[in-house]
Amino acid sequence: MARDREETKIRIVAAIGRQLARAGFRDLGVNSIAKEAGVDKVLIYRYFGGLPELLAAYAREGNYWPTSAELIGDPTTVKAESVADWLVYILTKVQMAIRQRPITQEILRWEIVDHNELTKEFAAIRTRVAMECLVFINQQYPFPPELDTLALCTIILSGIVYITLRTETNPYYLGMDFSDPTNWDRINKLVTAIIYQATNCNMPESVLQSIDRRGNFYGSQ
């Protein structure tokens, strides 16, 4: 019996992610979750108390956002020899995490319009992971003192998030068609150039093969 209860709870929590990815946050409620999980909604109230508590339970699972350990990986095998190397490496992984996870994208949308147990926890998790990564990088290679590294990462990441969410409903932005991967490529080359230039780091050979230091992004390929 106790096992049944745990199993049902897991089923209910898992239904949230599926429901978010398929129907979006606007249709998310106790009824739709119960239906998706195939359980009576009375069980949701009995096991969790209500929607806020259920969202909190889902939020704590946290697998809609990579951990700092996942983002940093095994530092001994990462070929990073400067602040910029590390920032580009981690920002690229974060970008993939956002672009490949429809559930994460839906929570990001939700977060813009609403305050609830899930979006609050999500914002807290992202901030914590970002800080852990920045502290780690700063220990490897100190940030340039005159640079507002936090603001730099914030504007870049915000740009990535918005392009991802916005081009999901309409692929065009400033004449670029983001259903075409070469346009994401342009953005990424530019971001790479920004990071190296703003931190005053030398670009490694591998990077110089696709962009040059003065900020010539796609012409020099």
Binding site: R109, H115, D148, Y162, L174, I187
Partner: protein, 216 residues
């Protein structure tokens, strides 16, 4: 009589903004607009033909964006990085000053229908025209990707403006005070100066000529 017509038109346009901000595009209809504006729906058809045309007209007026092309103050800049930095800060203030536009932009992320398209198109055209202005004014090298630059920074700005309505802080930055926006302005200027090489001005008369072209 003529004055009444203008007044009615402006009431209708205001009703469009209010309804869009409140409940988005999917529930927007001629009847709801007529009710909100307190006018007979026949007048909406007479003055604006149909809903898509009404939305386009709404998109062209100042409550939505300040202007559909580069604003006149862009003319005075003689350095490309300075102009680009100014343009982004201008864009940020324009959006922050327009709560209804913010709400409407939000709906773009949530809905995809014929009507959202009308206003997305207005903004897309404005962006393209403003970007063209940079190219008309400066001789920008072909390998300097201004489009990608303005996209990533403009999108970043948009996201932070939208998000700050609900959540004033992002990581350690506080957008409930001018301090957070100030830090953002500084980093944007730093980024642009770091990656954009200043370009020579084009001849003045060509700039003027092309500028008037962009309004078409």
């Amino acid at each position: 009589m003529a004055r009444n017509k203008e007044e009615t038109k402006s009431r209708i346009l205001q009703a469009v903004g209010k309804l869009l901000a409140e409940s988005g595009f999917s529930s927007l209809g001629i009847n709801a607009i007529a009710r909100e504006a307190g006018v007979d729906k026949v007048l909406i058809y007479r003055y604006f033909t149909d809903l898509p045309t009404l939305l386009q007209t709404f998109g062209q007026q100042g409550n939505y964006l300040t202007s559909n092309t580069a604003p006149p103050e862009f003319d005075k800049f003689e350095s490309l990085p300075e102009l680009l930095s100014h343009a982004l800060i201008y864009f940020q203030k324009e959006l922050r000053d327009r709560p209804i536009t913010q709400e409407i932009i939000l709906w773009d992320l949530l809905e995809d229908n014929e009507l959202t398209k009308e206003l997305i198109d207005v903004r897309e055209k404005t962006r393209v025209a403003r970007t063209k202005f940079f190219y008309d004014k400066f001789d920008i090298p072909a390998d300097q990707d201004i489009t990608a630059l303005m996209t990533i920074l403009g999108c970043g700005m948009t996201y932070l403006v939208l998000r700050s309505k609900n959540k004033p802080t992002y990581a350690g930055l506080d957008f409930s005070t001018e301090d957070g926006w100030q830090r953002l302005e500084l980093i944007i200027s730093k980024i642009i100066h770091a990656v954009v090489v200043d370009a020579p001005l084009k001849k003045v008369n060509t700039t003027k000529k092309n500028r008037s072209d962009t309004t078409s």
